[in-house]
Symmetry: C2
């Protein structure tokens, strides 16, 4: 059985780490309570990406935190990742599933309720819905989905949903209350002074929201 926990989902961004090595930021965040990591690299050459992914996988393995690779199944296969996260212009989830097999975790980004509906029969394990709030992290981000849009996606998804986009400690609980199973964050962890403390705080907020909700 495939196990993953969307509660506090770190999506990496090397430039946002400032002068710090990405591997250190990821390790700190994981020690603080991150439950899932997606390695996202848009500029690295393949060999560099594979080497980075292997280092991250090695750091996460003893903590039991699964590693997903954004877009690149080749990198996921080479580093022994637990799965991939694909966007609408990445490999189709059906192709990804055919290559990676039933045991891989596969997530899909949806920017609208329509895309969530279209994805109902896709062989994916969770949806990443957003941007929930305005964000400066992704230059080509879609229009803001909002909390109501997120709720619509949750209603249509038929599987767990993680919210992404502009999420931090100030609004994490709202995202959970809108029905998301967790929060995916980029700058709230990568750019944090202490990724460990930031992860701990986010996990507490997610658990608190779930307590209120349940």
């Amino acid at each position: 059985m495939k196990r993953f926990d969307l509660s506090v989902y770190l999506v990496t961004d090397r430039p946002l780490c400032g002068g710090r090595a990405l591997i250190d930021v990821v390790a700190e965040a994981a020690a603080g309570g991150v439950t899932l990591v997606q390695l996202r690299e848009k500029e690295a050459g393949t060999r560099e990406f594979v080497e980075l992914a292997r280092a991250v996988k090695k750091a996460l393995a003893p903590l039991g935190v699964p590693l997903l690779v954004n877009d690149r199944l080749d990198v996921a296969l080479a580093c022994g990742a637990d799965g991939v996260h694909v966007g609408q212009s990445d490999m189709h989830p059906s192709d990804a599933r055919a290559i990676l097999g039933p045991g891989a975790i596969i997530g899909l980004s949806v920017e609208t309720p329509e895309l969530a509906r279209a994805a109902r029969d896709f062989p994916v394990d969770y949806l990443g819905a957003g941007p929930v709030f305005p964000t400066a992290t992704k230059a080509d981000a879609a229009p803001v989905l909002g909390l109501s849009g997120l709720g619509e996606v949750v209603g249509l998804a038929g599987r767990p949903v993680v919210g992404i986009g502009g999420i931090g400690p100030a609004n994490a609980m709202e995202v959970l209350r809108a029905g998301a199973h967790g929060v995916a964050v980029v700058s709230a962890l990568c750019a944090a002074f202490s990724p460990r403390e930031a992860a701990r705080e986010l996990l507490q907020l997610v658990r608190a929201a779930r307590g209120v909700q349940d």
Copy 2:
């Protein structure tokens, strides 16, 4: 047994095709005598790349011309390509072999005799050596290897070598006489008025050079 023929090796470049669809240029060139095709896309998103690769694979299959994908093993797996061609900053050939298995064709770019020597124990089926001549096709091309450098690579390779970089009908025979098993060309086919005729001419030249040599 893995079979491939490096004689006239087309490396694709969409911008060089002008207004023509890449698939048409590849099909024409293959009809003219291209013996191997490498699909090289540096700008396409993964889904677009997979769709293009499937169309090219479908066009080449009835002609018995193998398709290799540049760099991207994920795309190669998704489209059922015959293998990949990797550069020095792409996935390491040993990782590529572990993922694709013994039946895949794997080629490696080498820009110097030192790199050819370093690659001796790598699980690759051929080396692509170049740039043999100056070329404008690749913005980040290494210093020119020249015919003597190509000859050195051939002597060190321990496997077939295809020359690449600035090769066309005017100098194809020299490349063969320097010991290469074939010519890899980009603009000489992609930018040709008739890719079919250009391929036919190159194949005749390669065969003529081989006749002289043998």
